[in-house]
């Protein structure tokens, strides 16, 4: 296990870097690293949980030589678990010696330094700073959605995304529906006018919720009482600064589809939400349901529901109404004068496809900037929704994006103060619509 060394702010050149004078000159203008079809791309994984390991596995399954060379995680057991799973699946493409495994809050900097392509898959609260650092170090990037959890975070990501463009870095975002053949085909038809102007939209992520990791469980793992920071990091889904609430962490997928269909992001939102059943001692501070109306620049509105309550009506889907028909986007069906339904080939696994596309762009040096194109905006859309439900007031896009409310801790460290802390009964302050200042 590596103890951390200072990270060079300038790139060290890698052996596969093209060495002709023209390319060297180009590289000095735009420090993005170009790999030809036959060059081995070195990958670093930042955040080694199930999804991070899955993303690394997909990156390691792309065409052309690739190698996982470094890993970073806040928790050593997560890192080891991810390493073992990846090694079992891709023995010859995983080459991470002990000194390239980094643990702790600044582990990411060191892992990023060793790679050509970095995968950012920690809890989303860390994404802005990790993305910023990866851009600073001039790396190509695959970043999981959401790319931030608040206004300052999205602003940081947007700035870094501009910088990435200037450096000609390729950036993919884990909104895999954008790479899913049936979605691409359906939305192309909508853009081609299959149902005319789209005047009303609906989308849902109503399901039963996700895992809970209890303080007791962590205490047993550690053999002592965890610090508050350890606990929040362990049970990260339930804390806004780490997760953004489920409207940001999950529902972003559906909101992104609507933004994609509309080729725009909302300008305003109103919403309501709360926690009806999510009241356990390890349920932190997030809501279990949100309902938001978003207004788009053309005046059309999106109603969006997301819920984490078992035993209710469930749906994860997107639907749009046009003047000439309607479309069940997620079911790939159009009703109306241009009636259509997808039959047959559903295409490749979109999680694999998104990596295939990113790595092809890296190897062929084609423009690729998903964060700047839509990743940051769809994240902001979801954050706007949360601001509307937490505060209960009308929130404009600009107010939300320019919000000074920074959820991130002032200092990182296992003993550092967390942005929110439990009271004597282990309960956290919960947003109260009408009272809470949410942006």
């Amino acid at each position: 296990m590596n103890t951390q060394q200072p990270v060079p702010s300038e790139l060290t050149r890698r052996s596969f870097l093209k060495t002709t004078s023209t390319l060297a000159a180009a590289a000095s203008l735009a420090p993005g690293v170009f790999a030809s079809v036959n060059d081995t791309l070195k990958i670093a994984l930042i955040g080694c949980g199930g999804r991070g390991s899955g993303a690394a596995s997909q990156a390691l399954s792309t065409a052309g030589p690739v190698k996982l060379v470094a890993m970073a995680d806040a928790f050593k057991d997560r890192l080891d678990g991810g390493y073992n799973n990846l090694k079992a699946k891709h023995a010859d493409r995983v080459d991470v010696p002990e000194e390239n495994k980094f643990v702790g809050f600044d582990a990411y900097q060191h892992a990023i330094a060793l790679a050509d392509v970095v995968i950012l898959a920690t809890p989303p609260g860390f994404r802005p700073s990790h993305f910023e650092e990866a851009v600073r170090q001039g790396k190509h990037i695959f970043m999981e959605k959401p790319v931030a959890v608040d206004g300052p975070g999205v602003r940081k990501v947007l700035a870094a995304a501009e910088e990435a463009k200037k450096k000609n870095l390729k950036v993919g975002v884990g909104l895999q529906r954008r790479h899913q053949k049936p979605y691409l085909e359906t939305i192309q038809r909508l853009h081609d006018g299959a149902i005319g102007d789209i005047v009303a939209m609906r989308c849902y992520w109503n399901g039963s919720g996700v895992w809970v990791r209890s303080r007791k469980e962590l205490e047993q793992k550690l053999g002592r009482a965890p610090t508050e920071m350890e606990y929040q990091m362990f049970n990260w889904y339930y804390f806004v600064w780490l997760c953004g609430d489920h409207i940001v962490e999950q529902h972003i997928h559906n909101l992104d589809v609507i933004n994609w269909v509309k080729q725009a992001h909302p300008v305003k939102a109103w919403g309501m939400g709360g926690r009806e059943v999510r009241r356990g001692i390890d349920n932190g501070e997030i809501f279990d349901h949100h309902y938001v109306e978003f207004e788009y620049p053309d005046g059309s509105r999106l109603s969006s529901q997301c819920r984490h309550i078992e035993g209710c009506w469930d749906s994860v889907s997107e639907h749009v109404q046009g003047v000439k028909g309607r479309c069940d986007v997620s079911n790939y069906r159009i009703e109306g004068e241009n009636k259509w339904g997808l039959k047959g080939d559903h295409g490749k696994d979109p999680y694999q496809q998104e990596h295939d596309d990113l790595f092809a762009a890296i190897r062929n040096d084609t423009p690729y900037a998903e964060t700047a194109d839509y990743g940051a905006y769809s994240t902001m859309t979801a954050v706007l929704g949360r601001m509307a439900t937490y505060g209960g007031k009308e929130v404009s896009w600009d107010e939300a994006l320019n919000s000074p409310l920074d959820t991130f801790p002032k200092v990182l460290g296992w003993d550092a103060q967390t942005p929110t802390a439990p009271d004597a009964n282990g309960r956290y302050p919960i947003a109260v619509p009408g009272k809470t200042k949410s942006f």
Partner: protein, 572 residues
Amino acid sequence: MSLLKCCLLGAFASGFVFAGGAAAKPVDFVTDVKPIFELNCLTCHNPQHAQDNGKYRLDTKEEAFKPHKKDQRIVPGHPEESEVYALTVLPLTDENHMPPAKLKKAPLTKEQSETLRQWIAEGAAWPEGVTLKVVMKVDFARDVEPLLERGGPLSDPARETLRLWLAQGANWPAEVSFPSAKAAAGAPSVPAGPVDFARDVEPIFARGAPLSEQARATLSHWVEQGAVWPAEVKLGPAKGGAQAREMDLVEQIHRDIVAASKERAEADMKPYTNTIPGTEVTYAMLPIPGGEFLMGSPAAEAKRNEDEGPQHRVKIEPFWMEQCVVTWNEYELFMYPEDKAPAPADGTTNYTSATADAVTRPTKPYVEMSFGMGKDGYPAISMTQHAASIYCQWLSAKTGHFYRLPTEAEWEYACRAGATTAYFFGDDPAQLGQYAWFGDNSDYKYQKVGRKKPNPWGLYDILGNVDEWTLDQYDPNYYKQLTGTVTEPWNKSTKPYPQVVRGGSWQDDPDKLRAACRRGSSSDWKMQDPQLPKSIWFMTDAQFLGFRIIRPLKVPAAEEMFKYWHSGVEKE
């Protein structure tokens, strides 16, 4: 329950320690002898299993004293002539020793044998009306430790287990402890009034072995007062090999099933509707008569595939089959154990059973698993074969019936219901719409179960709607390897893919719904699972796949149950 309560209270009132029952005072049948029989003898010498065990039953007085050939098993006043005692003191190497060492049964302790001797010597009094039943022998590691580890409000069966454990001596191995800050404080004295969990009980569990008399008394008061266990309190992590623990669990479920099963012969088999305990959810089971049939399709069948032949004769034992495929109503009870039926705050009633609770459950899916196609009354879908099998184990533990997936042969036999044609109603796909949901009439999604006509044996949606899991590994050449009439063929799995699914689905063309049509599962069916490792519970891309359960008339041995429920090949 009241019997157990009496037993327990009696035990503490008299300072009785189970293993030390031999005493100078007269032996009492109910408190001294009955527990020995129930724990050590009844597992074999019960009405269901007596046939294989010397035709001797020890559950009623009449049976116990019935002469056998020339011998009496119990000769009042003459222990040496009574096999019930004499066989327990034979050398362990003697093949007639009871309980049989070859079945890995522990011998009776000297004190237990002495109790039996004394009881017979004193005249072998067996009060009228006292009947014996199989009582679980509580094993700390298997039965008690998981309860303590899990913590939370204890179910009735869990409390019963604790009662039995206390009654049986509350053995706590010295090496097992649950480290906790509270341990240091030690257990206070036995509370006179209401037991407080945090003050009185938790320190005892925290300290672990061995339990003092005082600690046992405290625990017994606590159990009597409802064994309230605050939901957030959990003790140590699980210990021991997962496989061994799982086998122990299966053995426990097996014992419960053996004790509960009533039907002996095919004539006893009736259709029944069962309510899943503690819920309002029901499922209906239909008897499928045993018999022989010709499996596979004839070479001349339209749209037939090569893997459907050659046709071969198969003999099938009788079983019940679920009338409809398992719905979300049923399956979600298994998916979401805690939340569906929260235990009342006082911990007094709870629908769960200790064994069903101990069955592993699926991890929470990240995506919404009905994919918007509806839940109430609709087929459960997108589960792995492993998940479907563990559902069967869970339901078995809950109900005391042995449920499992059908083999491929059992499925085709039940589907055909005697027919030799492509479909159970004939060969004409034009009629299919009366019986099945498939590509042409399903409106791109699955439909509520039981809305089309059933097959001649009453099974709904056996064709179409959703494909159904079977137990077999898919091998296109499997039928070629079978000769003569095969009884209950089962091509056991050795690898994760492909496994056989049958019946066709809402997505399919009519030829895929033919009774003989076979399909193998594929790793593509987990394609959209973004995690590494991928889930062993969900097949995110198999939105056309469900299952229905069967219950064989003959209850198999625990080892076989284990094999039916744990193929061991569910991995990526």
